[in-house]
């Protein structure tokens, strides 16, 4: 039987013949005990395919068990592992060390989210704003009655919203957005893009009620089309587009 150990060293890819190493700087901070954050530095080996998440878990495994970091799927679908990597918000499991082109990799908790500890941040506000924009089909017959079939929807109609449905709620966009950087009441690109996702769904009838919710002094108008949200989104959601299209309804450009 072929040996598998070696390749898929669980949670980290074992450096086989790795001669490459980088300096991994991890921001450490426990608000309950520390006054300010501090960097700890580790030298870790990497391969062409090693991701930042794997490097962090390598540290957790071999050097310091106490690094606090959130992760799960390790394939960029669960949205757990957003953090600042070399100054930009990115998914740790979706950022290869080799593509950073740097001998030093600095990881910090995402901006605009309160820190729980080290790299783990609180998401409560994102979950709340997401809920606030009514992220579900609004119509009277959304509960199936025995023998009903699907609502018809053409592939072209799916195309109208599928891009926005790719959001994994990682919060990178909220972390990059300049309004978010100072406005803690702003709904944020994540929730606004989801508002558009449902408005653009041909099966939905809740446009007006959703528009009412986001037409607020800390609602959609606090977006200034800075575009940073779209630039950091790892899933091609392009919240900036969704937000502007949504605003088109409010300005009377679209109906």
């Amino acid at each position: 039987m072929a040996q598998v150990s070696g390749i898929a060293d669980e949670q980290t890819s074992t450096p086989l013949s790795s001669s490459n190493t980088i300096l991994l700087r991890i921001s450490r901070f426990n608000p309950e005990h520390d006054d300010s954050s501090q960097f700890m530095e580790f030298t870790v080996p990497y391969e062409r395919w090693t991701t930042v998440l794997e490097a962090i878990l390598d540290v957790k495994k071999h050097f310091d068990h106490s690094v606090a970091v959130r992760y799960s799927c390790r394939q960029a679908t669960c949205g757990s592992c957003g953090m600042m990597i070399n100054g930009k918000p990115r998914l740790a499991c979706f950022t290869k060390i080799s593509e950073l082109n740097s001998n030093v990799v600095t990881v910090e908790p995402m901006n605009n989210f309160p820190i729980i500890r080290d790299l783990a941040v609180k998401f409560e506000r994102l979950f709340d704003t997401h809920q606030k924009i009514k992220p579900y089909l609004i119509r009277d017959d959304s509960e199936l009655v025995s023998d009903e079939r699907e609502f018809l929807q053409s592939p072209e109609e799916v195309e109208q919203y599928i891009q926005f449905a790719n959001c994994i709620k990682c919060g990178l966009c909220n972390s990059a957005c300049p309004t978010m950087a100072t406005d803690s009441s702003f709904v944020g690109p994540q929730a606004l893009a989801q508002a558009y996702r449902y408005v653009a769904d041909s099966r939905d009838k809740g446009k007006d009620s959703r528009l009412k919710i986001i037409d607020d002094s800390h609602g959609i108008w606090r977006c200034h089309f800075a575009g940073s949200c779209s630039q950091v989104c790892p899933k091609g959601v392009d919240p900036a587009m969704g937000i502007q299209l949504l605003r088109g309804y409010l300005l009377g450009f679209r109906s």
């Binding site: 598998v4 070696g6 060293d9 426990n30 495994k61 068990h65 799927c73 080290d118 109609e157 449902y198």
Partner: protein, 570 residues
Amino acid sequence: MVESLEFDLIICGSGLAGLRAAIAAAKKGPNLKIGVVSKVQVMRSHSVSAEGGTAAVLFEEEGDTIESHVYDTVKGSDFLADQDVAERLCVEMPQEIHQLDHWGMPWSRRPDGRIDQRNFGGYSFPRATYASDKVGFFEMQTLYDTCQKFENIEYLNEWFVSSIIHDGKKFMGVTAIELSSGTFYTIKGKALIIATGGAGRLYSFSTYALSSTPDGLDMGLRAGMALKDMEFVQFHPTGILPSGILITEGARGEGGYLLNNKGERFMKTYAAGKMELAPRDIVSRSIMTEIQEGRGFKHETGVDCMKLDLRHLGDEKIKEKLGGIREISIKFSGIDPADDLLDIRPVCHYMMGGLHTNIDGATEIQGVWAAGEAACNSVHGSNRLGANSTSECIVWGKITGELAAEYAMNNTSSNPWPHHLVSAEEKRIYDGIFRGNGDVNPYEIRQQLTDTMNEKAYVYRNETNLVEGLKKIRELKKQTWKHVDDKAKEYNTNFSNVMELDSMFRVAEIVLLGAINRKESRGAHARTDYTKRDDANFLHHTLAYYDPNEPIMKTYPVTITKYQPVERKY
């Protein structure tokens, strides 16, 4: 004083099964207080990784039948499935697909506006309902978003449940640690649904999320429930190297080829009728046979592998139908499937076994149900067909949600709260683990344990290997890994990691014992020393109960309604 919370219904786990149960329960009992407890943030559950499809019969007018779905499932299971359960799955499923549609699921569509379906392994009709190749992700999104409608569902994000509290017969509550603060809680409740998913991280080469560890199974085991059929572990034929991330069966469903180093579609030797779309156990064995007979490839990491060819599908089709795996293979392996062959190898993917339940998902403790991959209601027998698992999660999520809600509405717990059980649990995890001593690195032990499983209980098994594996696991268990170096309370994942490891030992042992005992080849369990299926001696389920020394192994009959076991040929 231990901090305490109270709900009417506790749902442990927030994957497809847990969230579907929450909605069903919230609809049934609008006044029930429902708590969804999950060790990850609710929408980050492993289910988001499911890619290929959800099986259901949607087009009877075009020739599909429920009966055919039932038979495919039973045949796929190598006749170990309980046939009444399989039938329940197939009958309930179509309306669940439509219900998901009504809730906003972005199913891929046919030009006529109806929901599209694709081919999947082991089916006699294309009935894997899909949404691009992110089925689980979109289903999770739809369920999570729909949950937001209900005000009586509360979410406990990142709470690690550690044990089930009951009075010997009836459920009373659970104990849990709130990860962000490190506080130990008791959560009282009238009913519980366990939806803690699969335990595929028992294997180091695995498609599962890193959080898919057996702590949920172990919790039930320690509470006195049986684990059923744990020896049946599904190895998916196409895990991409080096990460082990899944390349969905949909890739072959859309027409992908498997090639050996002679450039042949070698599946013609093993399943000429279905070729690449034979059930997973067969395809995985074929790959391993080819490798053993020298017709494999070597990946640059030194590992044997086989090639998956998608080039002939063309760039546009790959982008449209397999966008997710295109992203995965370009990003993680540096290969664009439109230009190049993918390196793949069988990878741990699914646990057919789980907590022993009846057809309704009820466990042996009153007031506790189990649903999804954590449960074993025996719908998959010894080998699950692709796309049948998300179906199972949804159907039994709904069934158990409704039943548990009903139970919670009609029952009041009257027995005194068993404080001693809570203290015992506190002692077990705080004295035994958190304040434990030792100098062995638990993470290295975990690596060795999962490597052992990979080596000794992989696609092909035999007595020697399995026994060696068991010995090795027991050796590892004796070492001094039970300690937590991180002394902080807040977000202490070191603590939860060691608790996960603790649970792995008990469940790994049961997997190996079950495999040793089952001296036959059936479904995903292929023994090189007993190569034939043996219905005379082994047409039964395996049960394992907890015992401090060694698990107690029993058997349990299979329900056969219409289909007598015959030889399984494709």
